[in-house]
Amino acid sequence: MTYQHHTHLPHTAEERRRMLETIGVSSVEELFQVIPETLRSEELPLRSGLSEMETRVQIERLAANNRVWGGSGFLGAGCYNHYIPSAVRSLASRSEFTTAYTPYQAEVSQGTLRHIFEFQTVITQLTELEVANASLYDGASAAAEAAFLALRQTGRNHIVLSAGLHPETIQTVETYASGPGAGVERIPLDRETGRTTTLTSNSGTLEEAGVLIIQQPNFFGVIEDIASHARAAHEAGALLVVVQNPITLGVLSPPGAEGADIAVGDLQPFGNPASFGGPSAGYLACHQDLLRQLPGRLVGETLDADGRRCYTLTLQAREQHIRRSRATSNICSNQALNALTATIYLALLGPEALHRVGEICLRRAHHLCVALASIPDIERLYSAPFFHEFALTVRGGAGNFVERMREKGIDPGVHLRRFYPGSEETILVAVTEVNTPADLARYVEAASQVMPALRSKEPAERTR
């Protein structure tokens, strides 16, 4: 009985004995006799437990075996390096928030219920749509849920999406679509501008479609003309879903104003650390008439028995624990704490600082893009306006470029070969407020040194 003093297990041997007596059995083993003998495990094939100190040392060693780039990193592609205010971390890590369950007992969950209500409110304010749910897993799965919401509403079974969606969003939508057998069709980007080709009502592509999905800005950073896609979708009787990076919403016209029926996106940029890709949270907002088709939890305002304003989970007849096989989604746990993080972040920023952070990202990204594009053999891949992320063609090979730049202390962007086989000369560069003017200058300086060396290696790209 080494573990009678395990620090997470409070019982003493004497207490266990007394409890067994109360139950009326002589040993704990007796309680497990319902498990057939042939199924009983010997012992877990794991190591013995560690002390807190040993556990800390072991995990800290693993953390130290990772490299963090800070302002010298220019990776985006759906996950961004934004500044996280201390108040956000401090408040969202309060254990009254972190160690609570889903707010089923409203009387003792007003903290969670109120911050979800605030979250729903700020998402509707940002998107200019009327209803938002309590969050979904992430932006990609939110896009899939939005597509199915639209299919339920229109009674159609075909999804049309832009090739400018994040490739992993497309893959996620395809996975979700495989079960019910919904069709998924891509519409290409214009090779020159990088914008999604606007469909005309006579092209036929949207004829059977219940939904058109466009990303804003698209995966290559290019800003789409949402209004034109809204017109095309609506003429064809489909709904328009816009997957929008929320950090742009202080600057760009909101999806609701541009004609989107449903807006979704990933809330990582709002105070959630990159954390190797998760956890973040997805948001989903839509028009009032889609409310009954909405997936996920909703918090509503009401009055308590004393007539005081309070909040409670509501419209649960849409959800799996009530509606079971006829629910609008199977989602149960979502990403409440990450939604809280986003809410506190937005409360701190307010409208002015939200606009401001967008503006800094935008200006610094454009500054860097212009400087890089003036280096011989580097040019922008697409011509349409971009926000804080842009694709570059690097003659001589993006693989070599990335490697040389990393040697010089800059992680210059995501090599797009990762998503598009054969895309050997393209990188995607993201700039945020965390990349200081000095970081930008170091990037340009390093790139000017690396490019001539790359050219001498042309044309064959060194394989790794």
Partner: protein, 500 residues
């Protein structure tokens, strides 16, 4: 948790009602580059013509607002939380700190594999530990929650049947005691759902199952122990029947906390298993997420796991390197962007390291001991419909108290007055007035006894002062919400007109 006095002193206000134009909680630095007008950088682009009406509040007031909101919450760190099927065990503080190390939290998912060996090693080691605990062949850590893991699992089962000439298998069977997510998942993956009734012992009757199985059955989904807290004693017979019918067996891991070190789903014949790291493996629930719902499979389903998986390679010098394996052509694809809720995975890994083999086994033993102790002490006052040795939870009901007009909802609400969280109520659906009680291994004997005392006092009150129970709670920040009103006239966001 604060009482009603503070509440009446203004805590009811939302952040929007504390907003004053011109205030703000965060300032950013100067551009540091040429401050070109946005219109000039974005020619022809539709810009926001009016700012969003976000709150305008300074940092001190924001900190006070959310700190006060936190005081309105009940949480594992504030008290006993016997919420059945949710495994509200203690969430170790160390693990939060480790997940927050910048070596993890600042990692970008697309960094060069050379940069992220430590993170990949965490994922690899966690997968190995979870395989050892469950007896499965391989596991994807990508799903963000239990239901997400279920969807991945059922889509894998679908892919398996399509590859093995079973395209006509269009039905998933679940017991009537199943979690709602099981049915919703099967439907979401395009299957019809067939419910079978539980036996009078509360478990699956192999004869009823055998009669339901057909060449159209794709899978049977079950939880073991089931939602009554009972171990499915006929599990090996069930497994044989399911596989003889050409169907696959799905294990909902919500209740794994009962059997760590005692029995493994893989040995029961499970083909697919999902786990809830935010239940069994101690990661905080966050008020409704983030969780993590790894999904494990037997050998025959391995090719279908979601993309990507962590791969380990030994180099010539004996060095081990980790990478992401995308070369899996039969995969069902992705369930979300990136690799999963890594911050949650790190916490679970630290938990398993610290508990070790004996610690996890002892945790399950204590969880089962605690549940049986409560069952033994409550059985005289409360009806226990399936009163046999339970696993980590059991289901009681208010069948006795109902005679005094006191329902399960009333008992649950009255418990809140004792500074205790209510059990899961009105679930499973097969027990009228159900209360599903799961104490977990984290509670000491004194806490369990306090809970028993509270439950016994409420039972007394049901006879002596039923109104006190029916109108509970009396001491919480707010009292019972009018749920009908909330649903009939949904107010789902704050608007400026919506002031006191």
């Amino acid at each position: 948790m604060m009482g009603t006095t503070e509440d009446r002193m203004g805590i009811q206000k939302l952040i929007f009602q504390k907003s004053y134009p011109g205030q703000g909680g965060l300032a950013f630095p100067e551009d540091g580059v040429e401050s070109v007008a946005v219109e000039k950088l974005l020619p022809g682009i539709a810009l926001r013509d009016r700012p969003p009406s976000l709150p305008e509040v300074a940092e001190p007031q924001i900190v006070r607002h959310y700190t006060r909101l936190s005081h309105l919450n009940y949480a594992v760190d504030t008290g006993f939380y016997p919420l059945g099927s949710c495994t509200m065990k203690y969430n170790p503080k160390l693990n939060d700190e480790l997940a927050g190390l910048s070596g993890f939290s600042a990692l970008h998912p697309y960094q060069d594999p050379k940069d992220v060996q430590g993170a990949l090693q965490v994922m690899w080691e966690l997968e190995q530990a979870l395989l050892a605990i469950t007896g499965m062949e391989r596991m994807s850590l990508q799903p963000a929650a239990g239901a997400h893991g279920e969807l991945a699992g059922i889509l894998m089962i679908r892919a398996y049947h399509l590859d093995h000439g079973g395209e006509y298998r269009d039905t998933v069977i679940v017991p009537d005691s199943a979690h709602g997510t099981n049915l919703a998942t099967a439907a979401m993956a395009g299957f019809s759902v067939q419910e079978i009734s539980s036996s009078e012992r509360g478990t699956i009757d192999p004869a009823i199952l055998a009669a339901a199985l057909s060449e159209r059955t794709a899978a049977v989904m079950l939880t073991n122990p089931n939602t009554l807290g009972l171990f499915e004693e006929d599990i090996l017979e069930i497994s044989r029947l399911v596989h003889e019918a050409g169907a696959l067996l799905y294990y909902d891991g919500a209740n794994l906390n009962a059997i760590m070190g005692k029995a493994r789903p893989g040995d029961m014949g499970m083909d697919v298993v999902h786990l809830n790291l935010h239940k069994t493996f101690s990661t905080p629930h966050g008020g409704g997420g983030p969780g993590a719902g790894p999904v494990g499979v037997s050998r025959s389903l391995e090719p279908y796991l979601p993309l990507p998986l962590v791969k380990v390679e030994e180099e010539s010098g004996g060095d081990i390197t980790f990478s992401m394996d995308y070369d899996r052509p039969q995969s069902i694809g992705r369930m979300k962007a990136f690799y999963g809720n890594v911050g949650v995975l790190i916490r679970a890994h630290a938990y398993i390291l610290r508990m070790g083999a004996e610690g996890l086994t002892q945790a399950s033993e204590d969880a089962v001991l605690n549940a049986n102790y409560l069952r033994a002490r409550l059985r005289d006052a409360y009806h226990i419909p399936y009163d046999s040795t339970c696993m980590h939870e059991f289901v009681a009901s208010t069948a006795h108290q109902k005679k005094q007009g006191v329902t399960t909802k009333d008992v649950a609400k009255r418990l809140l007055d004792f500074r205790m969280h209510a059990p899961t109520v009105y679930f499973p659906l097969i027990v009228p007035e159900a209360m599903m009680i799961e104490p977990t291994e984290s509670e000491d004997l004194a806490t369990l006894d306090e809970f028993v005392d509270a439950m016994l006092q409420i039972d007394q009150e049901a006879s002596t002062d039923p109104d006190r129970v029916r109108t509970a709670p009396h001491s919480t920040p707010v009292r019972r919400p009018d749920e009908t009103r909330a649903a009939r006239h949904p107010i789902l966001r704050w608007t400026p007109e919506d002031t006191e």
